[in-house]
Symmetry: D4
């Protein structure tokens, strides 16, 4: 058989197009492809939720790739080690309670698991705005190719509909800010000083529905709550992603 | 137990430093974290070779993340489908002989497998030059943090020693060009027109030792040989990575 | 009826996707949306040829929008006034033989006519390379979103197949250079000094098939032939586009 | 006849200069060359109003060129289909009430119609400020070449006088903001969330005289009113342009 | 003996790593490598305090290298001449009470003395945030490679613990602003007009503990206090560094 | 009388437009507004030649504004002092034969004299190409607004006709390079080492007609001839401008 | 005599250095080299005041070089024509009361006159701050090379002492803002809409001492007063410069 | 005594100006402030030679500040340890023959020693060209402020005269290239592969007079000779600087 370039092109175009059209309407949109977002998407998909993860960068993984100060290792505390294990991520105990893993392995195994579970990834997609209608509920996202903004072009976006959004966009808490900026009742307190123990301890409490239809997890949860920072320890991220998956699944499966 | 920031920092610094010192001397250095490089590193590690993969970007995966024209799908032909299967990457047959996979899944599962096999990933590392001594053999790489160049700084590099280098740096064939530019006997013909069938058919032949100690694979192999381009079909990439692993393993295990 | 954002999005996605898949295989690909390219595409479509025009910018019209030195007027000589008339572009005789038109009107009416005739426009698409196989004939184009390059991303292109290409890319003669650079037998002489009379007089002769499957028109024709420049007089552009349409139509309709 | 470069140059300079001097004083200045502005200018010209459209970009068409997410299609609802028809823009019904057109065709046919009707286009012109004198009425615009700002130069502007201004500058509502910033009584509420149905439904009501001599249309109207966004559905834009033409014509023809 | 590149690399990596791990926990962290910071670090080290100086630039010396208006000379008044003498920096009396030294000599001799005394320098390190826990005391710094920010990357920082911080970051008073911005009780008045005599006279008074665990010196002290500027006279800088060393040493040695 | 903005605008537009049209055809085009070009234009105008000076920057004066190393003084040797005197530029003898003047005064008085004499200045105008027709003689210039290139726009130029061109564009010898690059018989040797005495001694000899219709003066003359550099001594510049005026005047007045 | 490069260099360095040292202490510092500043400096020097003009750009002339919209002409009304005449600037009456001059001639003749009168020009000098001491009077300027900021360097400034400052820095009113920003009692209202007649009529009233030791003239005067803009009519600028010279001379000559 | 800003400014200006004028004529100009250049300058000054070191950056120290890969340590082999000792730079033996020092300490102590010995440092000075006259000997340098180029300005340089130049500009071998580029007989072979042992062994041989009046040392010596690279081992640099000092001193003291 002779390979044909046009068939290759058609295979890509037609297949992905079908997916894009299919995901104009989904259950949960996870915004941000860092550790909490991937974990959340993986677990939502495992529960049978139709979930799409939207990431503005080309690659999935967010801040985890760089470890701490470009030393590609991460630390996970005892409470969250089970999540490393669950996803087959090797780790070594450095001191009692401090488990060290490689950041490249952590990113790739989390992502692989989410793919296997059926989460759909949309990279190079930026969220420009949110859909809120008369019932005051977050009901969709306004999305665009991120290279459109990178290239300084002005091009209209498209819109997706969803039953819930998980803001896993990190320190910036992008979606929460969009809601707040245009008048949504959603006070954002901003991130506090570095205090890992406190930040890790409280993150599960901050992982919650902060506006009808909007859940926050990971650093976005702490940023909304005015909680402290924690640095390159990722247990809280993983647990927060897990909890957001529980909450969002409950909301969309048994509304 | 109260989490302590300094212990977290020490865990990362001490663990990764040990790895960095350990990998100043290795068997095979793979340069470039695209599909052929990851495949090669995964299979070398499976064979028990001490292998490090050096990637200048923050993330691993190279051009595969974007699929074709930002539609994140790739195509693999029949001959290479067994490699998708081997790494657990789901695919669907679009037309007979054209298997479509998701690019995010392909990248993450290849990388995850390489981690499991024991390959060590060094991201944010740029290769600045090569080590060639009196015997005219490529014997090491001169490396630096890639942000050093991105930030326009002038800072001396460090050097690693290896028994073989696999140039998996894509169209640029970076290492081959470094050798050629300073007088190594290594003619580089440059990439030809797009002709997927021919390019895919010949890539295994071009995957070879092109200079004592230097193997080329993936698009770098085609670029050195003056072969055609192939676009977003990745079978040849995976098979070329596999073959480079065979050749380099043979060279370092049974020299 | 309540307007639904997702239906709007689906209408756009589904409709354009169908067009994109349909135009992976076409008769003539015109590269460049300046006056000669639009004219050529309009006339090809009128003849029933399946033609797509690929333009890397967001807007169609090229250098004609700016007139001369940002004074948005163009001049057309007597021989070509019939083309202005044909497309309903108003003009006024400034001195005998010098017809002045408004550049905004000229651009929009040429483009409107091409749309009516059935030419398909693909804006924001850059041509990265060409397809040339064993028979040494230009058989397709390797294309990508132009914002991909503008944003500094590395993403694989897709490929389209066509029976002929018209290079209407202006001074740069992009496609001709791609063919020449990788070894095609196509000498490119570069543009000469400004000499409007000579340039306008010879352009029809330079509008021809310069490589199997590749026709050049407009300034690209003059650049390949080493002909002079002509400045903001557009008669030759329009006539050259017309002639390229005749030649390319003959080639694809009665090969 | 031998073509003479200097005559060509003189034809352009002299002709456009006459136009520029003539349009230092006009009836209605439309600011912004997107769909609502072009429609407005076309219909004003048809009514015999002396109208100039000022656009800071080189090309006319604004955000319409890119369709939705670079897929060059637009949607128009049933109520506005008559405007597509009026300008000869082909469309296809995707689902009941959703008419899809090609963005390149829509832009070029709207613009062509405005040219035919006698609207004068001034591209590459930026509005820097407004003229408001003792009677507190918007009486003119302070304009400059937009490349002056793009090149970082400091060069004085010129001034045009007009009886009314239509702010069709899109989301930015440029002219309204200029009036408000320097103390004009013109509250600007800013754009709301995405809610196409509501935005399209209310835009005609927001299309009005918001300050003596200043009319707003298109997204600028919604931005001033604090109305929602609507994305790549353009019926409201066209209808708003039509209504602004009615209002401004009434104001200047029967003051 | 044959020099071996890998041993050279290992020597650097292993030695500096040990230092980095050792200094994750220190007595006093001085932030900023200008004249007051270096002086402070030198004198702290002489007192036996474990001190690290963190500088975001590649070189140590700050604004002193450029003298006044790129004329590399500095002036020191009579009261501070003893500090020049102490560090062996040659000077000449220009007019009574005005001692002129060369800026290159001043920078290098101050730095040399600090090295001899045992201060540890960490260049290319940016402070991103501070550690403040339940007792409301500044207890550490959140640090990163400065090229990470220069290269526009998003990578997690690491954390160091210290008993006191000296903010010697100049006009910006970086650390003081970090504390203030996130709610620490630390009013910052900003720098006043130029008035050298007053500024030099009051700087010692402003050199103090402004927040539990945070001392300010040099221009940072004046910026916090709302004091005047002084220009290229450096006596106050040196004396302020000396005083900060006294205060911080007292705080950490006899808490 | 009440000042009217539109009359002001019309006065500027109409007056300058008339000048632009009038100067589409002139005797001598001087390219470059540095000291040699201004001197040349001033003296040509004094001889009754219709002369236009084209300068791509906003201001006239070129490299003379900055003196030597930003110290705004220039030196003129004895032979050329009479030109300073002629234009009323004050100078002081520093050592015998070395006359020092202020650069701001030199620039402004040269320019003022050229204006008085009737030379016409066109600033912000870049020369893009030259007109050479069948007789192989330089017969005109292809010009554009320089902000067009600064803003990265692609806009057609206009053309002016002249009997002679004086290339006074400095080190770059812009016009000479344009002629040479497209095949004109005009070897350009490039500037030599710094050797003021030799450079100043030979410049008059190098000031000559180097191609039919093209005269070079100032540093452009030395660059074409392969002569040495001279630094901030301007006697040669002024004398060369004077000589170019003599030669070009002879050529156009008594051809 | 053989020209010697080192003597040339020494002549420039030694002469300008003497001037720089001499002007560390002056009567009036004029900030900004546009039309009002130059006029003011020229007239102050004619009155025997020791005056220095500080301009951050390389060239003197400011916004006047570009005329209106890059058409290098300016307009001056009847009241100010005597100033054009005084400086020998040719003009032509366009309509009664509207005198048009060439901008290049106006800039160069104003500057030339100021040089002749004895004003000293310091180009490439940026004002960074002001000197205000215990008596609350503006007593000097903090200056630096403007390329220091353009190159992103951090280098200390030097200080000059003066009896009065004239802020002729245009729309930005730089010095007035510096005084206001750090707490000086100087309300700044900002520029109003375009209204040439009003702006020109009131500018003399706004030209005054706005803070002890600080006079404003030209657009800076209108910006401080909240007055309207006027565009490319320069009569008010020239008259304002004249008036500021009268006021500042009175202040320093008969304090 | 009250500190006076103007006296401070005058002290700096007058003192440095005197030095600048004095150093327009010197014995040896060292170009480049890295380790070999500083060592060379220090030792030349110790021998009583009038030496100036010209460095284009703001700080002295060059590539040494960053150690290897931003780990601020350097290695020096046994043969050169005596130079560390001579300058009081602490070091520790890592393995036999490998002495590790801190880069901050090395830079500052070398520089401090050079200052003490009487070498004059000129930072922020770029060399633009060289002086070569009839005898074909390098006789001076053409210098400018480096911010002039950084800011994109065109300003004439000044010239210094010297008896010899030491090119210590590192990999770029700036001065050697300037001589070669304009026709000096000076072949430059470019740097070879990394091979520390060979590079360190041969550098003293390459440290020599390569053109009449031009000595090369440090990496510039190896680059001219086509020698290998060595990375962050600095023994050869220091010894090469020492040898260049011997050679240049001999040339200028006993010509």
């Amino acid at each position: 058989m002779e390979l044909d370039e046009v068939t290759i092109s058609r295979a890509i175009l037609a297949t992905q197009m079908e997916t894009m059209v299919e995901y104009l309407d989904l259950d949960v949109a996870v915004v941000g492809g860092g550790p909490s977002g991937i974990t959340c998407a993986a677990l939502l998909a495992e529960k049978g939720v139709k979930v799409g993860l939207f990431e503005k960068k080309l690659s999935i993984g967010g801040g985890m790739w760089g470890g701490g100060m470009m030393f590609p290792r991460i630390v996970v505390q005892a409470e969250a080690k089970r999540i490393l294990d669950r996803f087959g991520i090797a780790s070594k105990e450095f001191e009692p309670g401090y488990h060290v893993a490689k950041s490249v392995e952590a990113v790739s195994k989390l992502t692989a698991a989410a793919c296997t579970a059926g989460a759909e990834f949309f990279n190079l997609i930026a969220v420009e705005d949110v859909v809120i209608k008369g019932d005051g509920r977050l009901a969709g996202l306004v999305v665009n190719w991120s290279p459109v903004e990178m290239a300084g072009l002005h091009i209209d976006p498209l819109t997706i509909r969803c039953k819930a959004v998980v803001d896993a966009s990190g320190h910036d808490a992008t979606i929460a800010h969009m809601v707040a900026k245009k008048g949504g009742d959603l006070p954002i307190r901003g991130e506090g000083f570095m205090w890992a123990d406190r930040a890790e301890g409280n993150i599960l409490e901050h992982t919650r529905e902060v506006f009808p239809g909007l859940f926050v997890c990971g650093m976005a949860a702490n940023a909304v709550a005015g909680e402290c920072r924690m640095g390159p320890i990722f247990g809280g991220m993983l647990l927060s992603g897990e909890r957001a998956a529980d909450l969002a699944a409950a909301a969309v499966l048994h509304p």
